[in-house]
Subunit: 285 residues, 2 copies
């Protein structure tokens, strides 16, 4: 199999690692706007050779793992360049705009809109790790718009990588992902900001930070070049989640101001059920 | 050595584990309002026997690891009950009120105000783990008010457990810990609440939650019985941190509404330096 990876960072590089392990005969070609990344990916053995869009006509499969703003610009050109039987899929954290922007492309049936819910707070080819996708969910949007034979090829590989497949329409994806992913990133970035602003002149204070703070602020290490365009494309949903989050924080603050610590207790007690939810146990209510 | 542990949960139980490993000859006595916890602690070998306040006169060292509201009520009685050469230390996440409430106690010099920055989101004796304290910071307040010989005994044990000792006054402790610990808990609880409220009828949505959400919402599994009294005792500081956090979230939301995605990028980019801070690298600015 000839696999082209456009954007050879954490997401693309980790994919390459697993595919090479599962199918050692695969030839992996890398395309990246950043030549240093390409060289590193070669050194690390993530890719076998550098390539250009002109080479895409020979690829069986193309993975596109680039920031979502660049994705919208590049995907039409990528589809123009591929062969008849090439399947192309993306990994973007927003799905509505990319699906909309490709709806009339003559090669729409070669594209599979996908969002593997996998990642770490790190980026670049050195951040690539094995088994990143194992046990993770891959959300596929508008599957019916992709040629059946091509869907099959991509989905089979996703399953070999250990992913669970879920189907969803692009609007529903963007709405829900705003809650379970985009909001977490903002809450974490703003937590980091609040603490840095306050404590910038008292560096020793970070000695006081325990594993709780580290866990909650982890996502504030994420790449701004990746996340700013996500918030832009998913603006309406992100604003909605942020409004509700701020409202809940205001209520909690008011309870503390009013010394309603029974209310504070109840709020936390009700939210404790996140334990069951994250363990996949259905709620009774 | 005779060690009494009052409150035999995650914090007390983990302490018992390490002390027993380091000093196998230690006799560990447990006191807990919850008899089930005591029985479990016995079964798990965290303690050697149950005890009462009347036994405290024979203890060399007393660790008190109970919610901070109960702590303020119980500590005077505990100090009344101990022997002349017993050192008592607490583990509470607030320090100003406990120090204030004991300032005139005749046995004030037997008390060491301490806050080991260690824990997990779990609670109870089953949650006790080895090496919880290794590499963690222990903040000691008003050290000068504790008899020197007794400080020495406790601090030496903390160091054997692998802890770094930091000295701070109680008011500064409460102010800074609001930023690096208490605020993280609220941001996490409210994130959990926001997502549960929105998604309660759509359980499948949690399939979409990745490791980022899990990390950010982890602290929402914490014990409300422990945390409500912390927010009560540290009310002023917590309100201040929450006000600043909400303000930063409002600003970020406004930037998204105004489509100022350069600003959004810059905010995140500036906050990325949390990486260096958490790695203990001093900031240039």
């Amino acid at each position: 199999m000839k696999l082209a990876i456009i954007g050879i960072g954490l997401i693309g590089g980790s994919f390459a690692k697993d595919v090479k392990r599962l199918h050692p005969e695969t030839e992996v070609y890398g395309i990246d706007a950043n030549d240093e990344h390409l060289n590193k990916a070669l050194d690390l053995g993530l890719i076998d050779a550098k390539a250009t869009y002109q080479d895409l006509q020979f690829a069986d499969m193309v993975l596109v793992a680039i920031p979502v703003d660049v994705l919208v610009d590049e995907m039409p050109k990528i589809l123009d360049a591929i062969g008849e039987n090439t399947v192309v899929f993306d990994t973007g954290s927003t799905k509505a705009l990319i699906c909309k922007s490709l709806e009339n492309h003559p090669k729409r049936r070669n594209f599979l809109a996908s969002h593997p819910i996998a990642g770490t707070e790190f980026s670049g080819p050195e951040a690539a790790i094995e088994n990143l996708y194992n046990g993770k969910t891959n959300i596929i949007c508008e599957v019916e718009k992709t040629a059946f034979k091509l869907q099959e090829k991509a989905l089979q590989l996703f399953q070999e990588l250990g992913m669970r497949i879920r189907y969803m329409n692009a609007e529903a994806h963007d709405k829900h992902i705003a809650y379970v992913s985009h909001l977490s990133h903002i809450s974490s970035f703003m937590l980091g900001k609040t603490v840095i602003e306050k404590e910038k002149n008292e560096r020793d204070i970070f000695d006081m930070a325990g594993s709780g703070f580290e866990s909650t602020v982890r996502l504030a290490k994420s790449s701004p070049a990746m996340w700013a365009p996500i918030f832009e494309q998913n603006k309406e949903n992100v604003i909605e989640t942020l409004t509700e989050y701020i409202h809940n924080l205001e209520d909690f603050k008011k309870m503390i101001e009013n010394e309603d610590f029974k209310g504070v207790y109840d709020e936390m007690n009700n939210t404790n059920k996140i334990k069951q939810i994250l363990n996949g146990i259905p709620l009774t209510k």
